[in-house]
């Protein structure tokens, strides 16, 4: 039987049902470990901690690549991670076994890779922290051909290695000034 407020009663009933369903859904859907330590799922910590490691340190690379590691360690690039240019460790070694080749940049790829950091256009690079250059102005000022690639003069693992060594031979730098990199 309809009365003047049937629709209002039904709306109130609908809202009450919605509230109940919402409350029930919250009870059922809230993860069991939620709120154990804070406003998140407690089990998430364990899950995150058990993620397989993808990245390692330069010392992990040293165990096999001691020669490259040594050059890198005494060069200007010593603070840069091997993985920064070569890619993640996990793609290369898994459980102590070789699983895949990491990319080694060659030819023009080298130029792109170097310019990623050494581009003068990136203004947020103070001079005393990183040397930035503009191509081909840099090649012109060094009096070399414009199709030269960075690693024809710079050793990629220790950029000043050959340059300082040459300067030492020519007597432009003393052994001390040339530092470890120019050994």
């Amino acid at each position: 039987m309809q009365s003047y407020n049937t629709h209002v009663k039904r709306i109130v009933l609908l809202l009450a049902i919605m509230a109940l369903v919402g409350y029930g859904a919250k009870k059922v859907l809230t993860p069991s470990t939620f709120g154990e330590y804070g406003h998140y799922r407690g089990a998430a910590i364990e899950k995150e901690a058990n993620r397989p490691l993808k990245h390692m340190t330069n010392y992990s690379c040293k165990s096999c690549h001691a020669f490259e590691w040594e050059i890198h360690e005494y060069g200007k690039h010593k603070t840069i991670s091997c993985e920064f240019c070569h890619g993640p460790y996990a793609n290369h070694v898994k459980d102590g076994k070789y699983v895949g080749r990491l990319p080694v940049k060659k030819g023009l790829e080298i130029k792109t890779l170097c310019i990623r950091c050494h581009n003068k256009e990136i203004k947020a690079r103070p001079k005393d922290v990183i040397k930035t250059i503009k191509m081909p102005d840099h090649l012109k000022s060094q009096h070399v051909r414009e199709d030269h690639i960075c690693n024809q003069c710079h050793h990629v693992h220790a950029p000043l290695r050959y340059i300082n060594r040459a300067k030492k031979v020519l007597g432009l730098l003393t052994g001390k000034e040339a530092g470890n990199e120019g050994r």
Binding site: Q2, Y4, T6, H7, A25, L29
Partner: protein, 401 residues
Amino acid sequence: MTEAVHTGMAANILNYVFPNDLHVHWSLMIVLYPYITGIIAGAFIVSSLYHVFKVQDLKPVSRYSLLFALAFLACATWPLLNHLGHPERNWEMLITPNPTSAMAGFGYIYSLYAILLIFEVLFIYRPTMVALKAQSTGKLKTLYNILTFGSEDLSPRSIALDKKIIAFLAAVGIPMACILHGYVGFIFGAVKARPLWSSPLMPVIFLLSASVSGIAGVIFSYVLIQKYKGRPVDSKCVITLSKFLWGAFIICFTFEMLEIFQHSYLKTHHWDMIHGLLWGPLKTSFWRMQVGICSLIPLFLLGILIIFKVREKAFVFFATIASGLLLLQVLLMRWNVVIGGQLMSRSSRGFTTFHPAFFEKEGILPAILIMAAPLVILWLLGKIMPMWEDNQPSTEPTTRT
């Protein structure tokens, strides 16, 4: 992205930008989010002017503005969901409510407001829908039956009860609409790392520009729809709306300028950056477009229309142009605030650059689709609920055969 740094993009970056400030994360979608929310709040205020404050001149758009608000309300979260990497996780906000999250707070306010607006529409349309139910058959009849909660009672006692409920909902709706949009301003104002946003004036400016965009949206679309349908435009209604629009815009524009003046007079350590931003990367979009073309022209245009005696036809024509410009003004204001705030690097020395692409996930095409969606929804709503006073069915109980 990396390529862009090496080619064209880098040329637009000014001075010293931290590498992690290079990319503008709050994209075009976050520009649309306050824009759409503002339109909802503004359009609701128009309907409240009639339903609560009894501004009789606004009767022709009283129902339309409510549906206009509802259609935009349906799409308010779309830009946010499109912006998120995991939009399906939005339900977590309701399952595990977090009282200290400012963004979740918007979700709660939005949900409450949505419930309120839907019920207000249903109550206002009840007599109409009862009459339509009697005239329709099949699925449409079932739909009307659901929307009227199966009640056909249109007795004076029942209507009186509805009126009380409508008055209550509309009255509660005004502070709710203000909170809804003021809250969006609060979200921006609360980001203390961004000197352009971090100001207590933010909620006020957002709320005022919301009123402007809502009223302008109602005038603009109302006149265009009536012209398109070949129906007469109620010029009295447009004149009254324009007066409210002018008033709201005067206050809104004053506050927008006062904020800049405040920054410039205080000259805090951020002023150099804000100055550099407004007279640098934002010079065109802020001073030339937002302030010059889209604020001063409608400000004087509406002023002239309202102060001087203008023929009604000319009034409607120019008020529509002013409304269109003001809709653009508010969109530009959202752009300049949201994007502008992120162009400043935290280095306090440099500015980055932002150009949305057409086809990307948060690009121009999705933005156009999201802005078109409320209009489609409005058209669909209009099929079920007559928007205009002149095509309402008679609510007299019909004799059924």
